[in-house]
């Protein structure tokens, strides 16, 4: 056969076809399934999480061995560099966190106090972690209601005591997307707009 053996038509379909009962049923069924799936996820979606503050802490409190603990710490540092809060000046950073450091881009990021770890996401067979070692910081602005709270890079509050076990949604343990301040827009597309009086339908070919 020289053609695709199978194409997932449900994925390709953008609108239900009202004149086609079979399709209508399929769509209804998948909506119903979706609802069930969501509610299961809501019951089952939180994990017991610890904040790991050192390699010793990691070896004591988790299933990881020393080498794995060191690697986890390293990855958390990289994540902190990537997704941690960033400030132009050290003063700005230290007005919110008591200790900050300059990163490779010349801006300032708070020093992480540890990273999140859930034993349940560690796969002993493959020695792989099914989440991300997301960094945790301690918020320090005086008189703020958040003073002394543990906080993740995207602002999720954990609590004060890093020895506690926290319950977090699985989402919080996943790798975070990076966001940045967009300083300008519209730097692509100008050539097309100059030529647009000619193109009827496409910038492809």
């Amino acid at each position: 056969m020289k053609r695709s053996k199978h194409i997932n038509l449900d994925l390709m379909r953008k609108h239900a076809n009202p004149s086609n009962q079979y399709h209508k049923k399929t769509v209804m069924r998948s909506v119903a399934l979706g609802v069930v799936a969501t509610s299961v996820a809501a019951c089952d979606g939180s994990e017991e999480v610890e904040v790991i503050t050192s390699t010793f802490d990691c070896m004591d409190d988790t299933v990881l061995e020393m080498g794995q603990c060191k690697a986890a710490y390293q990855q958390a540092l990289e994540e902190s560099e990537r997704i941690g809060p960033k400030y132009r000046t050290e003063e700005q950073c230290e007005s919110e966190f008591n200790q900050c450091q300059r990163n490779q881009f010349g801006s300032f990021t708070p020093v992480m106090v540890g990273y999140l770890f859930a034993n349940s996401l560690w796969d002993r067979n493959s020695n792989r972690y099914g989440g991300s070692f997301n960094p945790v910081y301690r918020y320090f602005r005086p008189f703020s209601p958040l003073h002394n709270q543990l906080i993740t890079a995207d602002g999720e509050l954990l609590g004060e005591d890093d020895d506690d076990v926290f319950k977090l949604k699985k989402k919080s343990l996943k790798k975070k997307k990076s966001f940045m301040n967009t300083v300008s827009r519209g730097g692509f597309g100008s050539v097309a707009s100059k030529k647009s009086s000619y193109s009827k339908s496409s910038w492809g070919g």
Partner: protein, 408 residues
């Protein structure tokens, strides 16, 4: 290779709504045309289209390898000097390609001849990979075509497999897909590729080319003095960093636009990779002819400063180096230049290719003669399918009709 009339499926327009195929008719003209189909033998497809397609692709890769190492050639290919290192690096790092489409002139016998390579921003991928596949399925199911009918079209299957491979090297990466505003066709094309990526388990986002922003790594919105040397990232409408971008937008445009200095500085990876700018370029054609003279699938082709070598060729087609969708093509015969299509290209220079007209197929119903072009698809380096475009004009352009095909 035959052109055969067939009754359009009664419900196809309804089905187009259901599957979100919005550009089957554009500006009141038919684009998707299922009033006829082209019929091929398996031999014609495998011997004359599939095998040469993979061979031509390998020849094109040899052109890339030659050009990236030669400043004079980079100049001839109109790659701006400030992008030479970056284009070369993308080739040396073997940045992966997704897909290409070769345009071939083929009449059912003899050698298919390469017109050009759409290696950077090929369109009509949805119509090929999905819509004509569905057409065949429906017509076989409805008893209008024999059960044994096949199609040279594993495009969707191969795209999904390719996305799956690309995912393995970066399991968590999210893919942004992008095209220009105000074009239903491009938006549909990009949506299709997003669907294929989703099928492969990749999470996707969409951003218009014009909306792409520059993100600074610093809080408090302070970085007003953006300069080319600072480390910046491309961002989408939600200020999310774009790590991996499919752009249905030509490299040669991006190379001259405001954000071009940040292409090399950002960590963003691109589909298609930057080295594709060399083979989506019409300068490819004279270069292929130089490296593989008299290859049966090539037409003689020349750079502007080599026209003396073309003195014994009776008629030449003059193509701008960056032309798309058949724009700004003219035919030169007896030292007379006849403009055959207008458009916005040409200031970058031209190449010349020996004239080899498309085969003609007569349509009795409309009493029209059609010129027929074959698009032969590649996913990475594998031939993956075929599309047919037809026009009453000798030059295939963006409004030329798309017709399905079968192998019998």
């Amino acid at each position: 290779m035959l052109r055969r009339p067939i009754a359009p499926r009664i419900n196809w327009q309804q089905q187009a709504i259901e599957y979100g195929f919005k550009f089957h008719t554009m500006y009141g003209q038919t684009y998707w045309d299922e009033s006829a189909y082209y019929q091929f033998t398996l031999d014609q497809v495998e011997r004359d289209i599939e095998a040469p397609t993979e061979e031509i692709h390998q020849m094109c890769l040899q052109v890339v390898d030659k050009v990236v190492h030669d400043e004079q050639l980079l100049r001839k290919f109109c790659i701006p000097q400030h992008k030479w290192d970056w284009v070369k690096a993308s080739w040396q790092k073997k940045e992966p390609s997704l897909y290409s489409r070769l345009d071939l002139a083929y009449a059912g016998q003899g050698h298919a001849k390469l017109y050009e390579n759409n290696a950077d921003t090929p369109t009509s991928v949805y119509e090929t990979g999905f819509w004509q596949w569905l057409w065949l399925q429906d017509n076989v199911d409805g008893g209008n075509l024999p059960r044994s009918s096949d199609q040279f079209n594993s495009l969707q299957e191969k795209l999904v497999q390719r996305f799956y491979q690309l995912k393995q090297s970066q399991p968590n990466a999210e893919l942004h897909l992008s095209c220009c505003k105000d074009t239903e066709e491009d938006r549909g094309t990009v949506q299709y590729l997003a669907d294929c990526a989703t099928e492969a388990g990749i999470s996707t986002q969409f951003v218009y080319i014009e909306d792409i922003g520059l993100g600074s790594n610093v809080n408090e919105g302070a970085s007003k003095n953006v300069n080319a040397s600072s480390k910046l990232c491309f961002t989408d409408n939600n200020n999310q960093v774009i790590d991996w971008l499919f752009k249905l937008y030509p490299w040669e445009f991006m190379f001259q636009e405001e954000y071009h200095p940040h292409l090399a500085n950002s960590d963003c990876r691109f589909i298609e990779p930057a080295w594709k700018s060399i083979i989506s370029n019409k300068a490819l054609l004279p270069m292929l002819w130089k490296l593989f003279p008299n290859h049966p699938n090539l037409l003689p082709a020349f750079f502007e400063d080599e026209l003396h070598l073309a003195s014994d060729i009776p008629s030449l087609v003059k193509k701008p180096i960056f032309s798309r969708e058949g724009a700004n093509i003219s035919i030169i015969k007896d030292q007379q230049e006849i403009t055959a299509s207008d458009g916005p290209y040409g200031e970058e220079g031209y190449i010349y290719q020996a004239t080899h007209l498309l085969p003609k197929f007569f349509d009795q119903e409309s009493n029209r003669t059609n010129y027929t072009l074959i698009g032969s698809w590649l996913v990475d380096d594998k031939a993956a399918g075929m599309s047919i475009r037809e026009d009453t004009n000798r030059i295939t352009q963006d409004m030329s009709r798309f017709l399905p095909h079968v192998i019998v």
